[in-house]
Symmetry: C3
Subunit: 158 residues, 3 copies
């Protein structure tokens, strides 16, 4: 892949990922990951201090699906909606088909009464690879939120 | 067109569209549409309920130009300025030269006293086609706002 | 360069530029500029009135480095962090290797207590050229902020 094509494919992956969440197609979300994967939400402060633990952690697509199933039962997600605005990926390296990239994001939360607020900003630290079917999939996504406060009860995928 | 080139051209169309609005070159705005077109602003809630009606509706470039002329007379638009941040288009289909795409957006409103607030978030649901002059133009843009409250007095193009 | 490749390279430049600031790698920031350059922060209102003066002004990479050194001594920057979300560049012209482009941005400020607010929106008005090492560098960046109020004490690069 040329650099331009790679950037295009990463950007397309991210926009599909975000649109699935924002359109409440949460069941599609685990499909963006590899079967064995890492998904973690943490904060910039935790990262700086070297804390490995994240607020949210999953290491397989099945675990991500369980998470969505639990969400659907709890119905927590119905109270608000979200809108992701995702920046241009910054490719760090590409080795043996594994792409390391860092991508800034901003998420707005929209309450049922119409009120909007800045929900989260940060970067996705990703390792992405091309699957047998030719699609790019996320092998690892560390969601590093800028704010030191991050709602631990957050249920929605980020 | 390759996928990368198509994405590039859609992104370029969107950024020119947004810059025209944000720089108060509103007279340029109808030129991004085909002569016979559909421009509608609605909400995610209305869409979900199957309401066809939108808050704002126009079905020709001439109607969009009339809208701008009315705005200029009313001078309503002068009170604030706006800044669009537009995400990566997600191409849904490309058939017989018509591209269906969905693109997230966020609009910040800047008051004359400097106060900024989140004005709107949502997605553009577009059908875009290549005109005889080679330019991409919008045949249909449904602006689906995330917030159920949307100021019906909104005058500015979104 | 094709148009798609040029857009890709401008977007990559901008995302690296923003990530350096947002990750507090401020010492890397002057390296995105040519040695003789122009960096200015101004407001849309000042631009409209034809005021040439900006809130912040530098005309060499050395001056930008001095600015960062002063910041590090003052430690002002440590109180908050920032997150840039940068839109798609709009290429105005490309002549003799110099690209004129305009790119919308939004910056969120994240306070140490976790509070987030809209810090600034605006456009970068850039002249970018390809250096001898093949890298694109900023020859001129006029940061035009939408808000008429812009904190003159702002220390962070924008």
């Amino acid at each position: 892949m040329t650099s331009a094509e790679l950037l295009f494919r990463l950007a397309a992956l991210n926009t599909h990922y975000a649109n699935a969440i924002d359109a409440d197609r949460l069941e599609d979300w685990p499909g963006f990951f590899e079967e064995v994967c890492l998904y973690k939400i943490t904060t910039a402060e935790n990262e700086k201090r070297g804390y490995a633990a994240g607020v949210v952690y999953a290491d397989s697509r099945a675990m991500l699906s369980d998470r969505i199933a639990a969400l659907r039962q709890a119905n927590i997600y119905e109270r608000h909606s979200y809108r992701h605005i995702i920046g241009t990926p910054s490719v760090r390296s590409e080795e043996e088909g594994v792409i390391a990239a860092e991508t800034p994001f901003l998420i707005v939360r929209i309450m049922r009464d119409g009120k909007m607020d800045l929900f989260a900003t940060g970067v996705y630290r990703d390792r992405v690879s091309q699957a047998a079917d030719g699609e790019l999939r996320v092998a690892e996504r560390i969601v590093v939120c800028d704010s030191p406060r991050f709602d631990t009860l957050v249920a929605i995928p980020v």
